[in-house]
Every structure is written in structure tokens, then in C-alpha cells.
């Protein structure tokens, strides 16, 4: 029986280790993939590593992760050790109380702790960013350090410090020379736990960060919506670093122990620590070296904070802008206007934002934007008349258009009957023929637009019964059609032909159609949303001059061409639009690239506080219904 158990155990262990390492191995293999796919390996290449090294964003995230972890570990180890020593001499009631308080971050769900920190920083108007992330990390690391140091202190002879002081040591010397050496193992393991917790943290960092400061976790979370093999490359790099450090920690002492049989515990315990620190230091210097380079440029050393949609900038525009001006750009991405609004309304400072029409109207009415300085803006003549002087900002006093387009249905011509589309319009999303084969888009405004248009109402309706009807339409859809509710994931998935139908923004459709010729784009005759997104400058922008320079750059032919040809959205720059749509252009003749004109049912969103709130609430209910379906 015992033997049988052993071999069962061996098999279990083998399967389990395979399970643990399978995704890691898969990731490493696909980081060397030539193609973009995450499922088929097409050939060996280092292109994703090159991409990673060139992407300032990723290296910055790596730097933030490790620098925050190192500082937080150091501070929390020192503070935690001192506090633990102090507490051991405090009254019992104090000790128990602090223990209870320390349990808070360890015993609470992490998201609750995270929200606590976020509310704290916002209530006291501390600007969220690197410092707040660091403070939060220190705060949740200290309890772990104390947890591992305290038992070691308890095990000490309480008279030790007294004895040292009787022999003439000052309290400080007694502490450093007598107590600390005795509890070093506890301190080291506490520090290691703190470091692990900090490096791995996502939830807390995600809620307390701001101004585009990202660690690795936040970066993966915000970037993971589209296939991006660079994530595999940077992950592989992390795997290599961590494995090296761990091997050093574990192997070096083994070798040392073998070499000199007589025990010298202290040395052994310090070694792994030193090894980890050395590895980390090497990583830091490598990462830091990647910055640098200085010439005589107008905005040398300044920083632009850009808050833009995900997948909304070209491959080179930020780098080109940095090279031309000497400034550096920190970009943060959002998924929806609403998400962006919450941050902005809570006083976070950005220089340039790219919201949509109705949101610009709201930001203007709430006095969150500053007027553009006409002296500094030289790009208006380059833009198409179609997107200038729109009702949300007559005269373009606040905004310079960036992209524009429509909302429609992307469909797989091989799976969808075009007659269904023509006859049913948006109601095709209720056609059970396509059950389990559709994507909805996680945008409250455009989901309600779809439902309202399907029902023949105006998308700007303020009639609550019509809104309720639209809500019922959406609930019926999520309950009977098994849709997947996505955001940018739709782009790669439709390009791969994974589903038959999806609600999509025209620009994403353009990209999908350019990648996969089986895909089509349809705008229902019952009308759709003609939207435009424009660049604006926040009232609390730190560097409005640089913001103006960026706006001009992004609207110029070079900037706009890079943006539009890379992401597929229709440029506001007339010449770029003509080039890309015209003969030989990247998007020659694609109906999604040229926004429709002349359908009287098409509308532009108008901001209305009350309907916004209703729609917002109802949409989160729709998602809950989808989840419970």
C-alpha cells in the first residue's frame, strides 16, 4: 500500500509541476514567435524583445515595479523591525491592539484595502502617482515584516538588552549590536515576504496609482485586451530575473555549506539577501541606462501627461514627438469616457485628454477644460470641415479633433446572411440564429444607442419609458444570445474570425477588415452614432505649452498619418484621410473608414446629466444580468 501511495504521489507531483510550469513555458516559447498569434508558432524571431526594449512604457513599468519593491522592502523592514522591538516592550493591551490593526490588510479582501487607500488619498487630496503607490506598498508590507520578526523577539531573553546596558552600552548600541543580530533570520524572511508581496501586487497598486504610473501588473492588465506578444517578452525577462535570483539564493548557500562544513549561520543567511540585492541592483542599472540622450530642443526634460483611449496612438508618434521636442510623454489609457471622467473629476492632472464629443461638452460645462490659445494652435486649417464647429464645441475654442467615425456591425461574410443585416439592422443581435456567436461592446452609451436605434428611438432620448424599453432589449439580448461583452479584445478576435457578429467602432472595423478580407462592416439604416474624439487641455494641466505643441504635432500630417494608418480610425486630417482612403492607401475603399453622411437617422451624442445617470445604472445592471444568465 505504501508503495502504491508513493507512485501515486509521484504522478500527482509530476502533473502538478507540469500544470504550474505549462503557462510559463508557453509564454516563453511564444515570446520568440515571429507572428502575432498566441496560438500558432510561425517561426523564431526576437522582434517582440526589440519591441519591448523600444517601448519606453514597458521599461518604465519594469523600473517602477522593482524600484517600488526595493524601497518599500527597505523601509518596511526597518520600520517593521523597530516597531516590533518597541511593541515587545509595550503593555499587552497596546500590543494586542496593534496586532489587530496589522491584521486588517492581511485579513481583509485586498480590494477592500485598496479602496481604503484610494479613498484616503482622495479625501486628503494627495495626488495619486508614484508616491502614493510607494506609501501604500510600505503600509501593507510592514505587517508582514512584523509578523515574521515578532516571534524571534519573543524567543529572546528579555534581560539581554538590560545586560548590555548594564555593561555600559547605550540603548542604541544595545539595539544594533545585541538585539538585531539575534533576530536577523526573522528580519531577512520578513524582508523577502515584503519584497514578494510588493513585486507581485496588482490590486492595491491599481487603485492608488495615477498620472500614468504603472507597474508590471497594471501594464499587463491594461494592455491585455489585444494580443500583444511583447507582454510575453517582458514576462520572460521577469522569469529570468526571478529565477536567477532564486537560484542564487538557494544554490549559493548549498555550495557554501558544502565547502565549509562548519556552520556559520549568519554568513549563510546574509548571502542570499546580498545576492537578491545584487541582482536587483543590476536590473535597475540596466533599466536606468536606457534613458538618456540630450540635445538642444524646445521642451528638453519636460513631461507631457497624456490620457488617451487604449490602442489609439500610432507606433511612432510618441517617440517622434519626444525626439522633436526633447520632452517625454507618459501615456495612460482608458476604456471608456466614463472611466476617464471619474479620474478627471477627482482632480487628477493630465495635460492632454482625448474624450468624445458628448464628454467634451460635459467637461466644458463643468469648467474642467481650459480654452486653447489660438496663438499656439496652427493646425486647424489641416482638418476636415466635417469635424469642425460641431455643437459640442462651436468654434473649437476648447478642442482639436483627433479621430472620428461611426458605430456599426462587424460581421463575417461567410457566416452572416447579408439579407438578415439589411432587414433586421441592430435587431440582428436578437436573432437566435447567431446565438453564442456575437460580441457586444462594453460601452454604456453605444450599447444603449444600439438598443434605442433598434427600437426606432432617438439615441438622445430623455424619455424614461424609451430608456426602459432599450434596457429590456439589452437584457433580452444578454439572456438569450449568450454574447461576450468585450472592449478592445474584439479587434483581434474578429480579425481571427472567432465570432460572426459584433458591435464595433468604425476604426476597429477598418483594422479588422484590413487584416481579414472575410469581414464586413454594416451601418443599419435606422441610424447610428456619428462620433468624434478630440484633444483638449485640462484646466489643471501642468504644462499647457507642451500640450499645445503635442496637439499640433498629432494633428499634423506626419502625426495623424502614423496614428490613422496604425490603428485604423478615420483621421480628422483631410490630407491623411484622402491618402489612406484613396487609391493605393492602406484602407482604400473600405466603407468603415469613410464615415457615412446623408442618413437623416444618424445622430451625434448630446450630454444630458440625468439620462447619463440612468443609462449608467442600467448598463451595469445589464452586465450583471449577463453574468447571472
Amino acid at each position: 500500500m505504501k508503495k502504491g501511495n508513493r507512485s501515486f504521489g509521484k504522478i500527482l507531483m509530476a502533473v502538478m509541476i507540469l500544470f504550474f510550469y505549462l503557462p510559463i513555458g508557453y509564454m516563453i516559447v511564444f515570446s520568440f514567435n515571429e507572428g502575432k498569434s498566441l496560438t500558432s508558432f510561425t517561426g523564431f524571431s526576437l522582434r517582440w524583445y526589440r519591441h519591448m526594449l523600444e517601448s519606453g512604457d514597458m521599461m518604465e513599468a519594469l523600473y517602477t515595479t522593482f524600484s517600488v519593491a526595493l524601497i518599500a522592502t527597505f523601509v518596511s523592514t526597518v520600520v517593521g523591525t523597530i516597531a516590533a522591538i518597541g511593541l515587545s516592550k509595550s503593555r499587552k493591551i497596546v500590543r494586542n491592539l496593534v496586532e489587530q490593526v496589522n491584521n486588517l490588510p492581511m485579513m481583509n479582501p485586498e480590494i477592500v484595502t485598496a479602496i481604503g487607500f484610494m479613498l484616503l488619498f482622495i479625501t486628503f487630496r494627495v495626488e495619486k502617482g508614484y508616491m502614493t503607490m510607494l506609501l501604500a506598498h510600505i503600509a501593507f508590507c510592514i505587517p508582514y515584516v512584523m509578523l515574521s520578526v515578532t516571534p524571534k523577539i519573543r524567543a529572546l531573553d528579555p534581560n539581554l538588552a538590560d545586560a548590555a546596558m548594564d555593561l555600559g552600552a547605550t540603548p542604541w548600541t544595545a539595539l544594533v549590536k545585541v538585539i538585531v543580530p539575534q533576530i536577523t533570520p526573522g528580519i531577512v524572511s520578513g524582508a523577502l515576504i515584503a519584497f514578494t508581496m510588493s513585486v507581485d501586487d496588482f490590486i492595491i497598486s491599481y487603485f492608488v496609482t495615477g498620472r500614468g504610473v504603472k507597474n508590471l501588473s497594471i501594464m499587463v492588465y491594461t494592455m491585455s485586451k489585444r494580443v500583444n506578444p511583447s507582454i510575453n517578452a517582458i514576462s520572460t525577462l521577469v522569469v529570468v530575473i526571478i529565477t536567477l535570483a532564486l537560484v542564487l539564493i538557494n544554490v549559493v548557500p548549498l555550495i557554501a555549506a558544502r565547502r565549509e562544513k562548519q556552520e556559520n549561520t549568519r554568513k549563510r543567511r546574509v548571502l542570499p539577501w546580498a545576492a537578491a540585492a545584487a541582482t536587483a541592483a543590476v536590473v535597475l542599472t540596466v533599466v536606468l541606462k536606457l534613458g538618456g540622450g540630450s540635445l538642444d530642443r524646445p521642451f528638453e526634460g519636460q513631461t507631457l501627461h497624456l490620457y488617451n483611449w487604449g490602442e489609439y496612438t500610432g507606433e511612432n508618434i510618441l517617440k517622434d514627438f519626444e525626439e522633436a521636442t526633447g520632452a517625454s510623454v507618459i501615456m495612460e489609457n482608458f476604456d471608456s469616457n466614463e472611466q476617464m471622467y471619474i479620474k478627471v473629476a477627482n482632480g487628477e492632472s493630465y495635460d492632454v485628454l482625448v474624450p468624445s464629443d458628448y464628454m467634451i461638452q460635459r467637461l466644458i460645462s463643468e469648467d474642467l477644460l481650459q480654452k486653447l490659445d489660438p496663438e499656439l494652435i496652427n493646425c486647424m486649417d489641416l482638418l476636415t470641415e466635417d469635424v469642425k464647429n460641431l455643437p459640442y464645441d462651436p468654434g473649437n475654442e476648447y478642442s482639436v479633433p483627433y479621430f472620428w467615425g461611426t458605430v456599426g456591425i462587424v460581421y463575417d461574410k461567410t457566416k452572416v446572411d447579408e439579407k438578415d443585416l439589411k432587414e433586421q439592422g441592430f435587431n440582428i443581435f436578437l436573432n437566435e440564429k447567431y446565438k453564442g456567436d456575437i460580441y457586444l461592446y462594453d460601452s454604456e452609451r453605444d450599447s444603449f444607442m444600439m438598443a434605442l436605434k433598434a427600437l426606432g428611438y432617438s439615441m438622445n432620448t430623455e424619455n424614461e419609458q424609451e430608456l426602459q424599453a432599450a434596457y429590456d432589449w439589452l437584457v433580452q439580448c444578454v439572456q438569450t444570445m449568450e454574447p461576450e461583452i468585450v472592449t478592445d479584445e474584439i479587434i483581434d478576435n474578429m480579425a481571427q474570425g472567432r465570432k460572426a457578429l459584433g458591435l464595433i467602432y468604425s476604426g476597429d472595423a477598418t483594422y479588422v477588415m484590413a487584416e481579414n478580407e472575410n469581414m464586413g462592416y454594416y451601418m443599419p439604416e435606422t441610424g447610428t452614432n456619428i462620433w468624434s474624439d478630440a484633444m483638449v487641455i485640462l484646466r489643471n494641466a501642468r504644462n499647457p505649452k507642451l500640450a499645445h505643441a503635442f496637439i499640433n504635432f498629432a494633428a499634423s500630417y506626419e502625426g495623424a498619418y502614423d496614428n490613422s494608418s496604425y490603428v485604423g480610425y478615420t483621421s480628422a486630417n483631410q490630407e491623411v484621410m484622402d491618402t489612406l482612403y484613396g487609391e493605393g492607401g492602406d484602407y482604400e475603399g473600405l466603407n468603415s473608414y469613410m464615415p457615412r453622411s446623408g442618413n437623416p437617422m444618424d445622430e451625434v451624442f448630446v450630454y444630458n446629466e440625468k439620462t447619463k445617470q440612468i443609462i449608467s445604472k442600467l448598463w451595469s445592471r445589464v452586465k450583471i444580468a449577463a453574468s447571472n444568465a
Binding site: 504521489g9 509521484k10 500527482l12 507531483m13 502538478m16 509541476i17 504550474f20 510550469y21 503557462p23 508557453y26 509564454m27 498566441l38 496560438t39 520600520v79 517593521g80 516597531a83 518597541g86 511593541l87 497596546v94 490593526v101 486588517l104 485579513m107 481583509n108 479582501p109 485586498e110 480590494i111 477592500v112 484595502t113 479602496i115 481604503g116 479613498l119 479625501t123 503600509a139 505587517p143 507581485d200 496588482f202 490590486i203 487603485f207 508590471l216 499587463v220 492588465y221 491585455s224 507582454i231 510575453n232 514576462s235 521577469v238 522569469v239 526571478i242 532564486l246 538557494n250 466614463e338 477627482n346 444578454v478 461576450e484 468585450v486 472567432r498 451595469s620 452586465k623 453574468s627 447571472n628
Partner: protein, 278 residues
């Protein structure tokens, strides 16, 4: 001597500011009518009433707890034999196996979860293997199964390590004594090994259940946008809907439920230790 106790004072101040106050703020926000500013404060129970009177919200809460329970059970089922095997191995093998289990834990959770997307997606490795067995058409990614898999994958090491620690602390002579006194291996396991490993099991359950119930990036990455758990609901309230008061109320509800569960677990632990001493 007494002077050392003053060393704790700065930390006490810090802990009040950074650990107690945030929880207090969540409580205050959750009882506040509307808006994101604490002054002026107007008391309401509205958010709690909304939550508890809505079947949809309760269903989400229930589903979050249920999937966390399933995760915990699976981790226990897989983790216990593994931990037992490790603890029974020789010291060298033990160290290597523990290292094998620890290394993935050092690699960012998000990154490891992201890797599953490629494995599970259509045409990915897992589906290819399944289709080899004639099960090709199963949809894997963006299902509850994927979420469960992601959770077990991320949290199983906690369980193994906790149980292994308590098993390896056990004195081997106890097993010998039990055998000498005529117990079958099965009896020995049930009456000696299992009770002695219980503290590890309980710690493991805590360490798995707690993050599983509140996780929001695993459901989001592997379950898709239409898969909502209570953690996603909180995130959504704070990041996109902007109803911070309601979000705070959900956070409070979750914190209280967790606290109650933890107290329950502690009680089991205490009772068990009491039994041991008899």
C-alpha cells in the same frame, strides 16, 4: 529598557493613519448619501438596502462565494496529497520540490494568468490536445471553468505550502508509535497525521478562500467582460460607474462577511487545539 517601548509610537501613529483611517473612510462613504466628498455628511442606509433587496446583487455575491468555495475545495483536494508527498520525501527532494512550487509564485500573477489566455483560446494548445481526444469543439476561454482554473492555478501553491509546513513539523516518532500500538496506516493517518496537519489546512483555506472570493482580474481576463463577480462589481462602481458610496457599501459588506468567516475558522481551530490537549 522602557525606552524601547517608545520605538513603537511612530508606528502606532502610522498604523492609525494608514490602516485604521482607510477602513473608517470606507464605512463613512458607505453611509453617505451621494457624492465623493465627506463634507457635508448626510447619513443613509440606502446603499445597503439597495444591495440586499436586489436579487441580482445577491446572486452575484452568492456566485462569488460559491466559486471561491469550489476553488478552495479543489485546492485542498489537490494540495493535501501533494503536500503529504513532499513532506514525506527526503530533505533534499523536499527542498527541490518546494523551490519548484515557489518559483511560479514569484512571477507576477497577472502575467501567469495572461499566459492562460493563449493556452485556452480557440486553436490554442489545450484545445488541440482536447480535439486529439475528439473533444475539439469545447469552448474554454471566457467560461466559468476558465475562471475556476485560473483561481486554482494561482492559489494552489498557498495551500500546498501551508499544509506541507505543518506536516513537516510533525514528529515522525509519533507515526512509529502509532504503528507500534497496532494502528493501521489508514488509522494513523486519520487519528494522528490529519489532526496534526489541521492548522496548516486551516491556514491554507484562509489563504485560498480570501483572495478567491474578491478576485477581479482572474474573472476579467479569463471570464470575459460578461463574467461578473463581487470584486468586479466593486471595481466597476469605482472605476466606471462612479458610485463610490454604493461601491463602499459593497466593500463593507464583503469585509464583514469575510471577518465573520474568519472568526468561524478561528473557532474551529481553537476547538481543535483544545481537543488535542486532552
Amino acid at each position: 529598557m522602557k525606552r524601547f517601548s517608545q520605538l513603537a509610537l511612530p508606528y502606532i501613529a502610522w498604523a492609525v493613519l494608514m490602516l485604521v483611517l482607510p477602513m473608517g473612510l470606507i464605512a463613512v462613504y458607505s453611509f453617505m448619501e451621494h457624492g465623493n466628498s465627506v463634507i457635508p455628511f448626510s447619513f443613509t442606509l440606502e446603499h445597503y438596502v439597495t444591495f440586499f433587496t436586489d436579487p441580482d446583487f445577491l446572486l452575484i455575491l452568492w456566485r462569488s462565494i460559491w466559486i471561491a468555495v469550489k476553488t478552495t475545495l479543489l485546492c485542498l483536494l489537490l494540495g493535501y496529497p501533494a503536500a503529504y508527498f513532499i513532506a514525506r520525501s527526503g530533505e533534499k527532494v523536499q527542498n527541490i520540490l518546494i523551490l519548484c512550487i515557489t518559483i511560479p509564485m514569484w512571477i507576477n500573477m497577472l502575467v501567469r494568468t495572461y499566459a492562460w489566455i493563449g493556452l485556452l483560446s480557440e486553436g490554442g494548445l489545450i484545445q488541440q490536445i482536447l480535439s486529439f481526444f475528439g473533444l475539439g469543439d469545447v469552448e474554454l476561454l471566457y467560461t466559468e471553468g476558465a475562471v475556476l482554473l485560473g483561481m486554482v492555478y494561482n492559489f494552489l501553491p498557498f495551500m500546498i505550502l501551508q499544509i506541507q509546513t505543518s506536516l513537516s513539523k510533525m514528529d515522525n516518532s509519533l507515526l512509529e508509535a502509532s504503528a507500534d500500538l497496532g494502528a493501521t496506516p489508514r488509522e494513523t493517518f486519520r487519528r494522528v497525521t490529519l489532526p496534526l496537519s489541521l492548522p496548516g489546512v486551516i491556514n491554507g483555506i484562509t489563504l485560498v478562500f480570501l483572495p478567491a472570493v474578491s478576485s477581479f482580474f482572474i474573472p476579467k481576463l479569463l471570464g470575459g467582460g460578461q463574467y461578473f463577480l463581487i470584486g468586479n462589481m466593486i471595481e466597476n462602481q469605482f472605476i466606471t460607474v462612479g458610485e463610490w458610496n454604493f461601491g463602499s457599501a459593497i466593500s463593507m459588506i464583503m469585509a464583514v462577511i469575510m471577518m465573520l468567516l474568519m472568526m468561524l475558522v478561528r473557532k474551529v481551530e481553537v476547538r481543535n487545539q483544545g481537543g488535542k490537549e486532552e
